[in-house]
Symmetry: C2
Subunit: 324 residues, 2 copies
Protein backbone atom coordinates (compact mmCIF):
# COMPACT_ATOMS: atom_id res chain seq x y z
CA UNK A 1 0.00 0.00 0.00
CA UNK A 2 1.18 3.52 -0.79
CA UNK A 3 -0.23 6.57 0.99
CA UNK A 4 0.16 10.32 0.68
CA UNK A 5 -1.29 13.47 2.19
CA UNK A 6 -2.59 16.37 0.14
CA UNK A 7 -2.09 19.88 1.42
CA UNK A 8 -5.37 21.44 2.54
CA UNK A 9 -6.66 24.00 5.01
CA UNK A 10 -6.62 21.27 7.66
CA UNK A 11 -3.47 21.06 9.80
CA UNK A 12 -3.11 17.32 9.15
CA UNK A 13 -3.91 17.51 5.41
CA UNK A 14 -6.06 14.99 3.50
CA UNK A 15 -5.33 11.29 3.16
CA UNK A 16 -5.07 9.66 -0.29
CA UNK A 17 -4.14 6.17 -1.47
CA UNK A 18 -1.58 6.18 -4.30
CA UNK A 19 -0.98 3.58 -7.01
CA UNK A 20 2.27 1.62 -7.19
CA UNK A 21 3.48 3.60 -10.22
CA UNK A 22 2.64 6.92 -8.47
CA UNK A 23 0.37 7.86 -11.38
CA UNK A 24 -3.06 7.62 -9.78
CA UNK A 25 -4.60 8.38 -6.43
CA UNK A 26 -7.96 8.09 -4.74
CA UNK A 27 -9.23 9.91 -1.67
CA UNK A 28 -9.41 8.02 1.62
CA UNK A 29 -10.89 10.78 3.79
CA UNK A 30 -14.06 8.70 4.22
CA UNK A 31 -11.91 6.14 6.07
CA UNK A 32 -9.89 8.71 8.05
CA UNK A 33 -9.55 12.45 7.38
CA UNK A 34 -5.77 12.26 7.57
CA UNK A 35 -2.94 9.79 8.06
CA UNK A 36 -2.26 11.30 11.48
CA UNK A 37 -5.82 10.63 12.59
CA UNK A 38 -5.82 7.19 10.92
CA UNK A 39 -3.14 6.14 13.40
CA UNK A 40 -5.49 6.88 16.33
CA UNK A 41 -7.28 3.65 15.30
CA UNK A 42 -4.78 1.99 12.98
CA UNK A 43 -5.97 -1.55 13.57
CA UNK A 44 -9.38 -0.65 12.14
CA UNK A 45 -8.23 1.76 9.46
CA UNK A 46 -5.34 -0.19 7.96
CA UNK A 47 -7.42 -3.01 6.40
CA UNK A 48 -9.84 -0.47 4.96
CA UNK A 49 -6.98 1.47 3.39
CA UNK A 50 -5.49 -1.74 2.02
CA UNK A 51 -8.84 -2.60 0.44
CA UNK A 52 -8.95 0.87 -1.15
CA UNK A 53 -5.43 0.27 -2.52
CA UNK A 54 -6.51 -3.07 -4.03
CA UNK A 55 -9.43 -1.43 -5.84
CA UNK A 56 -7.16 1.37 -7.07
CA UNK A 57 -4.62 -1.15 -8.40
CA UNK A 58 -7.42 -3.24 -9.95
CA UNK A 59 -8.68 -0.15 -11.76
CA UNK A 60 -12.08 -0.36 -10.05
CA UNK A 61 -11.72 2.55 -7.61
CA UNK A 62 -14.34 5.19 -8.24
CA UNK A 63 -13.07 8.76 -8.48
CA UNK A 64 -9.41 7.86 -9.08
CA UNK A 65 -7.52 10.83 -10.45
CA UNK A 66 -3.96 11.66 -11.49
CA UNK A 67 -1.46 11.77 -8.63
CA UNK A 68 0.54 14.98 -8.45
CA UNK A 69 3.51 15.11 -6.07
CA UNK A 70 3.36 18.89 -6.12
CA UNK A 71 0.05 18.80 -4.25
CA UNK A 72 1.51 16.74 -1.40
CA UNK A 73 2.44 17.62 2.13
CA UNK A 74 4.71 15.37 4.16
CA UNK A 75 2.69 12.18 4.83
CA UNK A 76 2.23 13.42 8.39
CA UNK A 77 2.34 17.23 8.40
CA UNK A 78 2.70 16.94 12.17
CA UNK A 79 3.22 14.06 14.57
CA UNK A 80 3.21 13.60 18.33
CA UNK A 81 6.70 12.11 18.17
CA UNK A 82 9.66 12.28 15.81
CA UNK A 83 12.69 10.33 17.00
CA UNK A 84 15.81 10.29 14.88
CA UNK A 85 18.88 8.20 15.44
CA UNK A 86 22.39 7.62 14.19
CA UNK A 87 23.15 4.14 12.91
CA UNK A 88 25.84 4.33 10.22
CA UNK A 89 29.41 3.80 11.40
CA UNK A 90 31.07 5.71 8.56
CA UNK A 91 28.82 8.72 9.26
CA UNK A 92 29.73 8.65 12.92
CA UNK A 93 33.42 8.29 12.10
CA UNK A 94 33.44 11.21 9.70
CA UNK A 95 31.24 13.47 11.86
CA UNK A 96 33.74 13.10 14.72
CA UNK A 97 36.69 13.96 12.45
CA UNK A 98 38.02 10.46 12.10
CA UNK A 99 37.78 9.38 15.70
CA UNK A 100 36.63 5.75 15.89
CA UNK A 101 33.03 5.27 16.99
CA UNK A 102 32.78 5.03 20.78
CA UNK A 103 32.28 1.57 22.24
CA UNK A 104 28.58 2.14 22.89
CA UNK A 105 27.89 3.01 19.26
CA UNK A 106 28.25 -0.55 18.03
CA UNK A 107 25.99 -1.81 20.83
CA UNK A 108 23.15 0.69 20.64
CA UNK A 109 22.11 3.78 18.71
CA UNK A 110 21.91 7.35 19.93
CA UNK A 111 18.53 8.93 19.31
CA UNK A 112 17.43 12.56 19.55
CA UNK A 113 13.93 13.99 19.45
CA UNK A 114 13.11 16.26 16.55
CA UNK A 115 10.61 19.09 16.20
CA UNK A 116 7.40 17.36 15.19
CA UNK A 117 4.78 20.10 15.32
CA UNK A 118 5.16 21.39 11.78
CA UNK A 119 6.99 19.46 9.07
CA UNK A 120 7.42 21.13 5.69
CA UNK A 121 5.91 19.89 2.42
CA UNK A 122 8.35 18.03 0.12
CA UNK A 123 8.55 20.88 -2.40
CA UNK A 124 8.20 23.76 0.06
CA UNK A 125 11.01 26.29 0.55
CA UNK A 126 13.00 25.73 3.75
CA UNK A 127 12.93 29.03 5.68
CA UNK A 128 16.40 29.84 7.03
CA UNK A 129 17.11 33.06 8.87
CA UNK A 130 20.82 33.18 8.07
CA UNK A 131 23.26 31.73 5.55
CA UNK A 132 25.85 31.59 8.34
CA UNK A 133 24.09 28.77 10.16
CA UNK A 134 25.96 26.05 8.22
CA UNK A 135 22.90 24.93 6.28
CA UNK A 136 23.08 21.21 5.56
CA UNK A 137 20.81 18.35 4.54
CA UNK A 138 20.69 14.76 5.82
CA UNK A 139 19.20 12.06 3.62
CA UNK A 140 17.63 9.31 5.70
CA UNK A 141 15.10 6.49 5.76
CA UNK A 142 12.26 6.83 8.29
CA UNK A 143 9.40 4.61 9.44
CA UNK A 144 6.01 5.24 11.02
CA UNK A 145 5.10 2.85 13.82
CA UNK A 146 1.92 1.55 15.36
CA UNK A 147 1.72 1.66 19.18
CA UNK A 148 4.92 0.18 20.66
CA UNK A 149 4.53 -1.10 24.23
CA UNK A 150 6.77 -0.18 27.17
CA UNK A 151 10.10 -1.99 27.02
CA UNK A 152 9.37 -3.66 23.66
CA UNK A 153 12.06 -6.07 22.46
CA UNK A 154 13.56 -5.59 18.98
CA UNK A 155 11.31 -8.33 17.59
CA UNK A 156 8.16 -6.76 19.03
CA UNK A 157 9.37 -3.40 17.76
CA UNK A 158 9.88 -4.85 14.26
CA UNK A 159 6.24 -5.96 14.16
CA UNK A 160 5.14 -2.35 14.73
CA UNK A 161 6.78 -0.89 11.59
CA UNK A 162 3.85 0.16 9.40
CA UNK A 163 5.13 2.60 6.78
CA UNK A 164 8.46 3.59 5.26
CA UNK A 165 9.52 6.91 3.68
CA UNK A 166 12.55 9.18 3.21
CA UNK A 167 13.38 12.35 5.09
CA UNK A 168 15.61 15.37 4.79
CA UNK A 169 16.61 16.08 8.37
CA UNK A 170 17.64 19.69 7.70
CA UNK A 171 20.59 20.50 9.97
CA UNK A 172 22.36 23.74 10.88
CA UNK A 173 25.96 22.79 11.59
CA UNK A 174 27.09 26.11 13.10
CA UNK A 175 24.10 26.14 15.45
CA UNK A 176 24.62 22.46 16.23
CA UNK A 177 28.20 23.04 17.38
CA UNK A 178 26.85 25.34 20.12
CA UNK A 179 24.05 22.95 21.09
CA UNK A 180 26.38 19.95 21.34
CA UNK A 181 28.19 21.83 24.09
CA UNK A 182 24.93 22.25 25.99
CA UNK A 183 24.26 18.47 25.82
CA UNK A 184 20.50 19.07 25.57
CA UNK A 185 19.98 17.86 21.99
CA UNK A 186 19.20 19.78 18.81
CA UNK A 187 16.29 22.08 19.62
CA UNK A 188 17.47 24.89 17.35
CA UNK A 189 19.95 23.16 15.02
CA UNK A 190 17.40 20.74 13.57
CA UNK A 191 14.50 22.84 12.27
CA UNK A 192 11.48 21.37 10.48
CA UNK A 193 12.22 18.09 8.70
CA UNK A 194 10.73 17.23 5.30
CA UNK A 195 9.48 13.83 4.16
CA UNK A 196 8.91 12.31 0.73
CA UNK A 197 5.40 12.74 -0.71
CA UNK A 198 4.67 9.02 -0.49
CA UNK A 199 5.06 6.48 2.31
CA UNK A 200 4.74 2.74 1.64
CA UNK A 201 4.16 -0.45 3.60
CA UNK A 202 7.30 -2.62 3.89
CA UNK A 203 5.79 -5.32 1.62
CA UNK A 204 5.92 -2.81 -1.28
CA UNK A 205 9.72 -2.89 -0.99
CA UNK A 206 10.05 -6.63 -1.68
CA UNK A 207 13.46 -8.10 -0.93
CA UNK A 208 14.95 -4.62 -0.55
CA UNK A 209 13.33 -4.58 2.92
CA UNK A 210 15.13 -7.16 5.05
CA UNK A 211 16.75 -7.27 8.49
CA UNK A 212 14.60 -4.22 9.26
CA UNK A 213 16.73 -2.15 6.89
CA UNK A 214 16.05 -0.73 3.45
CA UNK A 215 18.75 -2.05 1.10
CA UNK A 216 18.65 0.51 -1.69
CA UNK A 217 20.68 3.63 -2.56
CA UNK A 218 19.31 6.98 -1.43
CA UNK A 219 19.96 9.46 -4.25
CA UNK A 220 20.88 12.92 -2.95
CA UNK A 221 21.46 15.83 -5.35
CA UNK A 222 22.36 19.49 -4.89
CA UNK A 223 21.31 21.85 -7.68
CA UNK A 224 20.82 18.93 -10.05
CA UNK A 225 24.25 17.36 -9.42
CA UNK A 226 24.39 13.96 -7.73
CA UNK A 227 26.07 14.43 -4.33
CA UNK A 228 25.84 10.83 -3.19
CA UNK A 229 23.82 7.64 -3.45
CA UNK A 230 24.93 5.54 -0.47
CA UNK A 231 23.09 2.28 0.18
CA UNK A 232 20.76 2.59 3.16
CA UNK A 233 21.28 -1.08 4.04
CA UNK A 234 24.69 -0.48 5.63
CA UNK A 235 23.18 0.51 8.99
CA UNK A 236 24.78 -0.94 12.12
CA UNK A 237 21.37 -0.83 13.82
CA UNK A 238 18.12 -1.80 12.12
CA UNK A 239 14.81 -0.12 12.82
CA UNK A 240 13.94 -2.97 15.21
CA UNK A 241 16.85 -2.01 17.46
CA UNK A 242 16.20 1.72 17.00
CA UNK A 243 12.54 1.48 18.01
CA UNK A 244 13.25 -0.90 20.90
CA UNK A 245 15.89 1.55 22.14
CA UNK A 246 13.32 4.35 22.19
CA UNK A 247 10.72 2.25 24.02
CA UNK A 248 12.92 1.35 27.01
CA UNK A 249 11.31 3.83 29.41
CA UNK A 250 8.13 4.86 27.56
CA UNK A 251 5.77 3.35 25.01
CA UNK A 252 5.62 4.94 21.55
CA UNK A 253 2.23 6.20 20.46
CA UNK A 254 0.74 5.01 17.18
CA UNK A 255 1.97 7.35 14.46
CA UNK A 256 5.45 7.86 15.91
CA UNK A 257 8.06 8.59 13.25
CA UNK A 258 11.50 7.02 13.75
CA UNK A 259 14.46 8.01 11.58
CA UNK A 260 17.37 5.69 10.83
CA UNK A 261 20.05 8.39 10.77
CA UNK A 262 22.03 9.92 7.93
CA UNK A 263 22.76 7.20 5.39
CA UNK A 264 26.48 6.64 4.89
CA UNK A 265 28.74 4.03 3.32
CA UNK A 266 32.33 3.11 4.06
CA UNK A 267 32.92 3.25 0.27
CA UNK A 268 33.77 6.88 -0.45
CA UNK A 269 32.87 6.44 -4.12
CA UNK A 270 29.21 6.41 -3.11
CA UNK A 271 29.46 10.04 -2.08
CA UNK A 272 27.49 11.46 0.82
CA UNK A 273 23.97 12.05 2.07
CA UNK A 274 25.09 15.14 4.00
CA UNK A 275 27.57 17.95 3.30
CA UNK A 276 29.23 17.77 6.72
CA UNK A 277 30.61 14.31 5.92
CA UNK A 278 32.11 15.48 2.65
CA UNK A 279 33.76 18.39 4.45
CA UNK A 280 35.16 16.11 7.13
CA UNK A 281 36.72 13.82 4.51
CA UNK A 282 38.20 16.83 2.71
CA UNK A 283 39.65 18.16 5.95
CA UNK A 284 41.26 14.82 6.70
CA UNK A 285 42.70 14.30 3.22
CA UNK A 286 43.42 17.89 2.09
CA UNK A 287 43.61 19.78 5.38
CA UNK A 288 40.74 22.04 4.38
CA UNK A 289 37.00 21.61 3.77
CA UNK A 290 36.10 22.78 0.26
CA UNK A 291 32.47 21.82 -0.24
CA UNK A 292 30.39 24.79 0.90
CA UNK A 293 27.28 24.50 3.03
CA UNK A 294 24.01 25.45 1.35
CA UNK A 295 22.99 29.02 0.60
CA UNK A 296 19.61 30.61 -0.08
CA UNK A 297 18.47 29.45 -3.51
CA UNK A 298 20.29 26.09 -3.37
CA UNK A 299 18.07 23.13 -4.12
CA UNK A 300 18.23 19.66 -2.56
CA UNK A 301 16.61 16.56 -4.08
CA UNK A 302 16.30 13.22 -2.30
CA UNK A 303 14.70 10.10 -3.76
CA UNK A 304 15.07 6.34 -4.08
CA UNK A 305 14.54 4.11 -7.13
CA UNK A 306 13.44 0.50 -7.11
CA UNK A 307 15.18 -2.23 -9.15
CA UNK A 308 13.21 -1.12 -12.23
CA UNK A 309 14.36 2.49 -11.85
CA UNK A 310 10.91 3.63 -10.70
CA UNK A 311 10.74 6.21 -7.89
CA UNK A 312 9.36 4.53 -4.76
CA UNK A 313 8.46 7.49 -2.57
CA UNK A 314 8.41 10.41 -5.00
CA UNK A 315 11.00 13.11 -4.37
CA UNK A 316 11.85 15.67 -1.74
CA UNK A 317 12.86 18.59 -3.97
CA UNK A 318 13.13 21.90 -2.22
CA UNK A 319 15.00 25.17 -2.06
CA UNK A 320 16.74 26.86 0.85
CA UNK A 321 15.22 30.32 1.26
CA UNK A 322 14.96 33.45 3.39
CA UNK A 323 11.96 33.25 5.72
CA UNK A 324 9.01 34.96 4.05
CA UNK B 1 -10.00 31.17 33.00
CA UNK B 2 -9.19 27.70 34.32
CA UNK B 3 -9.32 24.61 32.14
CA UNK B 4 -8.92 20.88 32.65
CA UNK B 5 -9.21 17.67 30.67
CA UNK B 6 -11.20 14.67 31.83
CA UNK B 7 -9.89 11.21 31.03
CA UNK B 8 -12.06 9.48 28.44
CA UNK B 9 -11.78 6.88 25.69
CA UNK B 10 -10.55 9.67 23.38
CA UNK B 11 -6.76 10.08 23.14
CA UNK B 12 -7.01 13.82 23.83
CA UNK B 13 -9.58 13.54 26.64
CA UNK B 14 -12.55 15.89 27.14
CA UNK B 15 -12.32 19.62 27.75
CA UNK B 16 -13.94 21.20 30.82
CA UNK B 17 -13.95 24.73 32.25
CA UNK B 18 -13.18 24.82 35.99
CA UNK B 19 -14.20 27.41 38.59
CA UNK B 20 -11.60 29.56 40.37
CA UNK B 21 -11.99 27.60 43.62
CA UNK B 22 -11.61 24.28 41.73
CA UNK B 23 -14.98 23.14 43.09
CA UNK B 24 -17.16 23.20 39.98
CA UNK B 25 -16.74 22.41 36.33
CA UNK B 26 -18.78 22.54 33.16
CA UNK B 27 -18.21 20.69 29.89
CA UNK B 28 -16.79 22.61 26.94
CA UNK B 29 -16.80 19.81 24.36
CA UNK B 30 -19.42 21.70 22.36
CA UNK B 31 -16.78 24.41 21.81
CA UNK B 32 -13.90 22.00 21.17
CA UNK B 33 -13.73 18.29 21.99
CA UNK B 34 -10.39 18.71 23.74
CA UNK B 35 -7.86 21.34 24.72
CA UNK B 36 -5.44 19.93 22.14
CA UNK B 37 -7.98 20.40 19.37
CA UNK B 38 -9.04 23.81 20.75
CA UNK B 39 -5.53 25.05 19.95
CA UNK B 40 -6.02 24.22 16.25
CA UNK B 41 -8.27 27.32 16.18
CA UNK B 42 -7.40 29.09 19.42
CA UNK B 43 -8.34 32.57 18.25
CA UNK B 44 -11.94 31.43 17.76
CA UNK B 45 -12.17 29.05 20.70
CA UNK B 46 -10.56 31.15 23.43
CA UNK B 47 -13.31 33.82 23.67
CA UNK B 48 -15.98 31.11 23.71
CA UNK B 49 -14.20 29.32 26.55
CA UNK B 50 -13.81 32.61 28.43
CA UNK B 51 -17.53 33.22 28.08
CA UNK B 52 -18.23 29.74 29.44
CA UNK B 53 -15.94 30.52 32.39
CA UNK B 54 -17.83 33.75 33.09
CA UNK B 55 -21.16 31.91 33.20
CA UNK B 56 -19.66 29.24 35.46
CA UNK B 57 -18.32 31.88 37.86
CA UNK B 58 -21.64 33.77 37.74
CA UNK B 59 -23.46 30.58 38.69
CA UNK B 60 -25.52 30.63 35.50
CA UNK B 61 -23.79 27.79 33.61
CA UNK B 62 -26.19 24.98 32.88
CA UNK B 63 -25.01 21.49 33.78
CA UNK B 64 -22.25 22.59 36.14
CA UNK B 65 -21.14 19.71 38.33
CA UNK B 66 -18.56 19.09 41.05
CA UNK B 67 -14.95 19.20 39.87
CA UNK B 68 -12.94 16.10 40.78
CA UNK B 69 -9.18 16.19 40.24
CA UNK B 70 -9.09 12.40 40.28
CA UNK B 71 -11.01 12.33 36.98
CA UNK B 72 -8.44 14.51 35.24
CA UNK B 73 -5.80 13.76 32.69
CA UNK B 74 -2.95 16.17 32.06
CA UNK B 75 -4.53 19.25 30.40
CA UNK B 76 -3.04 18.03 27.11
CA UNK B 77 -2.70 14.23 27.24
CA UNK B 78 -0.49 14.60 24.17
CA UNK B 79 0.99 17.55 22.31
CA UNK B 80 2.86 18.07 19.07
CA UNK B 81 5.70 19.76 20.94
CA UNK B 82 7.05 19.74 24.49
CA UNK B 83 10.15 21.87 24.98
CA UNK B 84 11.75 22.07 28.39
CA UNK B 85 14.56 24.34 29.43
CA UNK B 86 16.89 25.10 32.28
CA UNK B 87 16.69 28.60 33.72
CA UNK B 88 17.64 28.52 37.42
CA UNK B 89 21.28 29.27 38.19
CA UNK B 90 21.39 27.42 41.51
CA UNK B 91 19.98 24.30 39.82
CA UNK B 92 22.62 24.48 37.12
CA UNK B 93 25.36 25.04 39.70
CA UNK B 94 24.33 22.08 41.83
CA UNK B 95 23.68 19.73 38.88
CA UNK B 96 27.25 20.29 37.70
CA UNK B 97 28.67 19.56 41.16
CA UNK B 98 29.44 23.12 42.09
CA UNK B 99 31.00 24.24 38.85
CA UNK B 100 29.89 27.81 38.03
CA UNK B 101 27.33 28.10 35.26
CA UNK B 102 29.02 28.39 31.86
CA UNK B 103 29.12 31.84 30.31
CA UNK B 104 26.32 31.08 27.85
CA UNK B 105 23.93 30.12 30.63
CA UNK B 106 23.41 33.67 31.83
CA UNK B 107 22.82 34.84 28.24
CA UNK B 108 20.45 32.18 27.00
CA UNK B 109 18.74 29.00 28.19
CA UNK B 110 19.39 25.45 27.09
CA UNK B 111 16.25 23.66 25.93
CA UNK B 112 15.65 19.98 25.25
CA UNK B 113 12.67 18.34 23.55
CA UNK B 114 10.62 15.98 25.67
CA UNK B 115 8.47 12.99 24.76
CA UNK B 116 5.10 14.52 23.96
CA UNK B 117 3.07 11.63 22.56
CA UNK B 118 1.68 10.30 25.83
CA UNK B 119 1.76 12.29 29.05
CA UNK B 120 0.50 10.61 32.21
CA UNK B 121 -2.52 11.69 34.23
CA UNK B 122 -1.70 13.65 37.43
CA UNK B 123 -2.64 10.78 39.74
CA UNK B 124 -1.54 7.92 37.50
CA UNK B 125 1.27 5.58 38.56
CA UNK B 126 4.57 6.29 36.80
CA UNK B 127 5.70 3.02 35.16
CA UNK B 128 9.41 2.44 35.77
CA UNK B 129 11.16 -0.70 34.59
CA UNK B 130 13.95 -0.61 37.17
CA UNK B 131 14.67 0.95 40.56
CA UNK B 132 18.30 1.27 39.46
CA UNK B 133 17.55 4.02 36.97
CA UNK B 134 18.02 6.81 39.55
CA UNK B 135 14.33 7.72 39.64
CA UNK B 136 13.90 11.43 40.28
CA UNK B 137 11.27 14.14 39.96
CA UNK B 138 11.61 17.74 38.75
CA UNK B 139 9.04 20.32 39.85
CA UNK B 140 8.59 23.01 37.20
CA UNK B 141 6.28 25.67 35.82
CA UNK B 142 5.14 25.21 32.21
CA UNK B 143 3.14 27.28 29.72
CA UNK B 144 1.07 26.47 26.65
CA UNK B 145 1.57 28.84 23.73
CA UNK B 146 -0.47 29.98 20.77
CA UNK B 147 1.32 29.91 17.39
CA UNK B 148 4.73 31.60 17.70
CA UNK B 149 6.15 32.92 14.43
CA UNK B 150 9.60 32.17 13.04
CA UNK B 151 12.28 34.18 14.82
CA UNK B 152 9.85 35.73 17.33
CA UNK B 153 11.40 38.29 19.69
CA UNK B 154 10.96 37.83 23.46
CA UNK B 155 8.16 40.44 23.48
CA UNK B 156 6.28 38.70 20.64
CA UNK B 157 6.87 35.39 22.41
CA UNK B 158 5.44 36.81 25.66
CA UNK B 159 2.20 37.70 23.88
CA UNK B 160 1.75 34.04 22.89
CA UNK B 161 1.66 32.64 26.44
CA UNK B 162 -1.91 31.38 26.85
CA UNK B 163 -1.99 28.99 29.81
CA UNK B 164 0.15 28.16 32.83
CA UNK B 165 0.45 24.90 34.78
CA UNK B 166 2.96 22.79 36.76
CA UNK B 167 4.81 19.71 35.62
CA UNK B 168 6.75 16.81 37.06
CA UNK B 169 9.48 16.22 34.50
CA UNK B 170 10.22 12.67 35.65
CA UNK B 171 13.97 12.07 35.22
CA UNK B 172 16.12 8.95 35.38
CA UNK B 173 19.53 10.11 36.58
CA UNK B 174 21.47 6.89 35.91
CA UNK B 175 20.09 6.73 32.37
CA UNK B 176 20.72 10.44 31.90
CA UNK B 177 24.40 10.08 32.74
CA UNK B 178 24.78 7.77 29.73
CA UNK B 179 22.73 10.01 27.44
CA UNK B 180 24.68 13.14 28.36
CA UNK B 181 27.75 11.40 26.94
CA UNK B 182 25.93 10.84 23.65
CA UNK B 183 25.05 14.57 23.41
CA UNK B 184 21.72 13.75 21.70
CA UNK B 185 19.41 14.87 24.51
CA UNK B 186 17.20 12.86 26.87
CA UNK B 187 15.27 10.40 24.73
CA UNK B 188 15.30 7.63 27.34
CA UNK B 189 16.13 9.44 30.58
CA UNK B 190 13.07 11.71 30.49
CA UNK B 191 10.04 9.41 30.18
CA UNK B 192 6.43 10.68 30.15
CA UNK B 193 5.99 13.96 32.02
CA UNK B 194 2.93 14.68 34.17
CA UNK B 195 1.07 17.98 34.45
CA UNK B 196 -1.26 19.41 37.10
CA UNK B 197 -4.98 18.75 36.56
CA UNK B 198 -5.71 22.43 35.93
CA UNK B 199 -4.10 25.05 33.68
CA UNK B 200 -4.95 28.73 34.02
CA UNK B 201 -4.63 31.92 32.00
CA UNK B 202 -1.92 34.27 33.32
CA UNK B 203 -4.53 36.84 34.47
CA UNK B 204 -5.73 34.29 37.06
CA UNK B 205 -2.33 34.61 38.73
CA UNK B 206 -2.63 38.33 39.46
CA UNK B 207 0.60 40.02 40.51
CA UNK B 208 2.29 36.64 40.99
CA UNK B 209 2.67 36.57 37.18
CA UNK B 210 5.13 39.29 36.23
CA UNK B 211 8.28 39.54 34.08
CA UNK B 212 7.00 36.37 32.37
CA UNK B 213 7.75 34.41 35.54
CA UNK B 214 5.50 32.90 38.18
CA UNK B 215 6.54 34.34 41.55
CA UNK B 216 5.20 31.72 43.94
CA UNK B 217 6.68 28.72 45.78
CA UNK B 218 6.27 25.31 44.15
CA UNK B 219 5.56 22.82 46.95
CA UNK B 220 7.20 19.43 46.37
CA UNK B 221 6.65 16.53 48.77
CA UNK B 222 7.87 12.94 48.88
CA UNK B 223 5.69 10.47 50.79
CA UNK B 224 3.88 13.31 52.54
CA UNK B 225 7.05 15.09 53.71
CA UNK B 226 7.85 18.52 52.28
CA UNK B 227 11.05 18.21 50.22
CA UNK B 228 11.21 21.82 49.08
CA UNK B 229 9.16 24.88 48.21
CA UNK B 230 11.50 27.09 46.17
CA UNK B 231 10.06 30.24 44.62
CA UNK B 232 9.59 29.86 40.88
CA UNK B 233 10.27 33.56 40.32
CA UNK B 234 14.05 33.19 40.69
CA UNK B 235 14.51 32.16 37.05
CA UNK B 236 17.39 33.76 35.15
CA UNK B 237 15.33 33.46 31.95
CA UNK B 238 11.61 34.22 31.75
CA UNK B 239 9.22 32.36 29.48
CA UNK B 240 9.52 35.19 26.94
CA UNK B 241 13.23 34.44 26.50
CA UNK B 242 12.66 30.68 26.62
CA UNK B 243 10.02 30.72 23.88
CA UNK B 244 11.95 33.17 21.71
CA UNK B 245 15.00 30.91 22.03
CA UNK B 246 12.97 27.96 20.74
CA UNK B 247 11.55 29.94 17.80
CA UNK B 248 14.90 31.00 16.33
CA UNK B 249 14.89 28.48 13.49
CA UNK B 250 11.28 27.23 13.48
CA UNK B 251 7.86 28.56 14.44
CA UNK B 252 6.07 26.91 17.37
CA UNK B 253 2.67 25.44 16.62
CA UNK B 254 -0.35 26.48 18.65
CA UNK B 255 -0.53 24.16 21.65
CA UNK B 256 3.23 23.90 22.18
CA UNK B 257 4.16 23.28 25.82
CA UNK B 258 7.28 25.06 27.12
CA UNK B 259 8.77 24.22 30.51
CA UNK B 260 10.76 26.68 32.60
CA UNK B 261 13.19 24.14 34.06
CA UNK B 262 13.54 22.69 37.53
CA UNK B 263 12.72 25.40 40.05
CA UNK B 264 15.62 26.16 42.35
CA UNK B 265 16.62 28.88 44.82
CA UNK B 266 20.03 30.02 46.01
CA UNK B 267 18.61 29.85 49.56
CA UNK B 268 19.19 26.24 50.66
CA UNK B 269 16.51 26.59 53.36
CA UNK B 270 13.89 26.43 50.63
CA UNK B 271 14.84 22.83 49.93
CA UNK B 272 14.71 21.34 46.45
CA UNK B 273 12.35 20.55 43.60
CA UNK B 274 14.48 17.58 42.56
CA UNK B 275 16.41 14.92 44.47
CA UNK B 276 19.57 15.25 42.36
CA UNK B 277 20.14 18.77 43.69
CA UNK B 278 19.83 17.62 47.29
CA UNK B 279 22.34 14.85 46.63
CA UNK B 280 24.78 17.25 45.01
CA UNK B 281 24.65 19.59 48.00
CA UNK B 282 25.18 16.63 50.36
CA UNK B 283 28.14 15.44 48.33
CA UNK B 284 29.72 18.87 48.46
CA UNK B 285 29.16 19.41 52.19
CA UNK B 286 29.41 15.88 53.58
CA UNK B 287 31.35 14.04 50.89
CA UNK B 288 28.52 11.60 50.31
CA UNK B 289 24.97 11.81 48.95
CA UNK B 290 22.48 10.53 51.51
CA UNK B 291 19.05 11.28 50.08
CA UNK B 292 18.02 8.22 48.08
CA UNK B 293 16.42 8.36 44.66
CA UNK B 294 12.81 7.18 44.44
CA UNK B 295 11.75 3.55 44.64
CA UNK B 296 8.60 1.76 43.55
CA UNK B 297 5.82 2.79 45.89
CA UNK B 298 7.25 6.24 46.64
CA UNK B 299 4.79 9.06 46.11
CA UNK B 300 5.52 12.57 44.79
CA UNK B 301 3.16 15.54 45.22
CA UNK B 302 3.62 18.89 43.49
CA UNK B 303 1.32 21.88 43.86
CA UNK B 304 1.24 25.65 44.28
CA UNK B 305 -0.89 27.79 46.58
CA UNK B 306 -2.04 31.35 45.95
CA UNK B 307 -1.74 34.12 48.55
CA UNK B 308 -4.94 32.86 50.21
CA UNK B 309 -3.54 29.32 50.53
CA UNK B 310 -5.84 28.00 47.81
CA UNK B 311 -4.42 25.46 45.34
CA UNK B 312 -4.11 27.11 41.92
CA UNK B 313 -3.60 24.15 39.63
CA UNK B 314 -4.69 21.19 41.73
CA UNK B 315 -1.99 18.65 42.57
CA UNK B 316 0.22 16.19 40.77
CA UNK B 317 0.12 13.30 43.25
CA UNK B 318 1.43 10.04 41.94
CA UNK B 319 3.31 6.88 42.80
CA UNK B 320 6.39 5.34 41.21
CA UNK B 321 5.50 1.80 40.14
CA UNK B 322 6.54 -1.31 38.23
CA UNK B 323 5.15 -1.25 34.68
CA UNK B 324 1.87 -3.16 34.66
Amino acid sequence: MRLATLRSNQPDGELVVVSRDLKKMVSATDIAPSLRVAFDDWGRNKPKLEERYRTLMAGTASNAIAFDEARCHSPMPRSFQWLDGTAYESHRYRMTRGRPAPEWFLKEPAVYQGRSDGFLAPTQDVPLGSEDWGIDFEGEVAVITDYVPYGASPSVAASKIELVMLVNDVSLRAVQAVELGKQFGFTRSKPASVFTPVCVTPDELGSAWRDNRLHLPIRCSINGQLFGDPDAGEAVHGFDAMISYCAMTQPLSAGTIVGGGTVSNQDLKRGFATIAEARSVEETSDGVAKTPFLKWGDRVRIEMMDAQGQSIFGAIDHKMARPS
